[in-house]
Point group: C2
Chain length 307, copies 2
């Protein structure tokens, strides 16, 4: 990252904080949100929902965490250990507590006293869906369609306000045959572009690759890129920086179907795809492109957001 980019991120963040839209929490990538910011998030989320409503998806809402074993089984720990978050807690005795109190009083590190719990943080909204669908048994030819909205965590502290450690994703998830999954993704590529353009935001769609970890990850990224497995809808937020991925369109092939043993018919492993909207990123793009005063936004944009 060169200096003008860092400076531009800092300037945008300072502007958002001085307008009161984001609230510093003293940790990079964690922010409080004002009522105004949150109102736009909710309206945007409703607008995304309205696009998908005609398909009649099943609505599932998950907490910000899931089982650690579930995260492991999904392959996320293997591929993105640097981003994954697991939850630790104190599991000691009264005597251990005395030691903990002494450490706290002396401003000494106490984190080595924490023990892993069975809970991990959700890295992407759709991760909660696969084990739930798998537990229902064979799906049949129609497959499944699920609408989720979840707080996600990725450990990537950044000065870029659009790269938060905790953020929300609205996703639609399709579980079915390769053909069902392909047509779902094609449909949402069009729908998402139309929605984002109706919000007055310049959208470009490009092939993407995830930041898989390490040496093994290079190969996975190449496979993802060459197989056109992931597209992103990019919007310029900070002009000096690369465009920001605000929606992603993922074809997981049979990765989750195999991991969870999701079958359509006997012996036929399901394929899955998801479209995920980053609601904070789109909200930041709206403030960037239309200004900090929602009342001054273009009528057409306000209409889409139900103002």
């Amino acid at each position: 990252m060169n200096d003008p980019v860092s400076a531009a991120y800092e300037a945008f963040r300072t502007e958002l904080e001085s307008q009161g839209l984001l609230i510093s929490m003293g940790v990079e990538g964690l922010y409080g949100r004002s009522g105004t910011f949150e109102d736009v998030v909710e309206r945007l989320n409703a607008a995304i929902g309205a696009v998908g409503d005609p398909d009649g998806p099943e609505v599932m809402r998950f907490p910000p965490g899931l089982g650690r074993l579930q995260l492991e089984k999904s392959g996320y720990v293997r591929n993105f250990p640097h981003l994954a978050g697991t939850v630790a807690s104190f599991a000691g005795s009264n005597q251990d507590h005395a030691a903990l109190l002494a450490r706290l009083s002396n401003d000494e590190d106490w984190t080595d006293m924490q023990r892993p719990t069975e809970v991990a943080l959700t890295p992407a909204a759709c991760y909660g869906v696969y084990p739930v669908i798998a537990a229902r048994g064979r799906l049949g030819a129609a497959g499944a369609l699920v609408d989720v909205y979840t707080w996600c965590f990725r450990h990537e502290p950044s000065i870029d306000p659009a790269r938060m450690q905790m953020f929300r994703q609205r996703e639609h998830v399709r579980i079915g045959t390769p053909e069902q999954v392909a047509s779902f993704r094609a449909l949402w590529l069009d729908r998402a572009r139309a929605l984002v353009e109706s919000l007055g935001l310049p959208a470009a769609i490009d092939v993407a690759n995830d930041p898989f970890f390490g040496r093994a990850g290079k190969l996975l990224a190449a496979t993802q890129r060459e197989g056109n497995l992931k597209f992103e809808l990019l919007v310029p937020i900070v002009a000096e920086a690369p465009r920001t991925a605000c929606v992603s369109f993922n074809d997981h092939r049979d990765l989750f179907g195999r991991a969870w043993g999701i079958e359509l018919e006997p012996g036929e492993t399901a394929h899955t795809a998801c479209v995920g909207f980053g609601v904070e990123r789109l909200t930041l793009a709206l403030f960037r492109h239309h200004g900090f005063f929602v009342a001054d936004w273009p009528d057409s944009v306000r209409h889409v957001l139900g103002f």
Copy 2:
């Protein structure tokens, strides 16, 4: 816990899951929510907001986490280490990653490779507020009034569906003089009881004490009880079990004011109080008392929820 109580919790949970309102995630205390459940959560949350709107609180919305140092400074780690959650992540090299992959492939424990991050999970909605208010400097005689709504985590796996590990709290927080804080709490004791009764739920208010950890905690609990520092609004959810705390009314005296150095006027440390609504608990109480079909709920209840 005796057997009839456990059986009653299990029966209620099974009913909620078979009605599709809660979705098992394979970890005690973590549940997905159906669209119907979530719709009630949102309407309830709006009804709570409507009660507080006339006071004109400042709206702040926080992610499910806050800085680990902030959680520590607030005293939570000291008093409730067994409930507190901190977030760990992988911070190793390519070589460490190879070791991690080997552990995962061999189904061996890998959690000792996780390193603490700067992020902790939020134990109660108001914890995000104090550092933010403190950072603004002296408050003046009027103090502050804040409306928050946050996902919280407490590590207490339970078969009681009303004791979730991840749940949402809607809180109003008052920061001011002891008199301002006392009248805020008295006002909300009345308001909360009226709201809960308008929802057709039987409400009782009682003195409460928090599950402070260990030997030192016994004294803190006694102080809290004897000082009337915490009241709870209790609703019977599972008839065989103790009533469930659905709203809490907390007088923190100058605990957070001192911890964060929040001043009203020079040398005058702020007192704080909060009223916290457990939205999942109230939602479960609604389904328990009025049945699993929202359309059949009493008209008066449906009216309060804006149906």
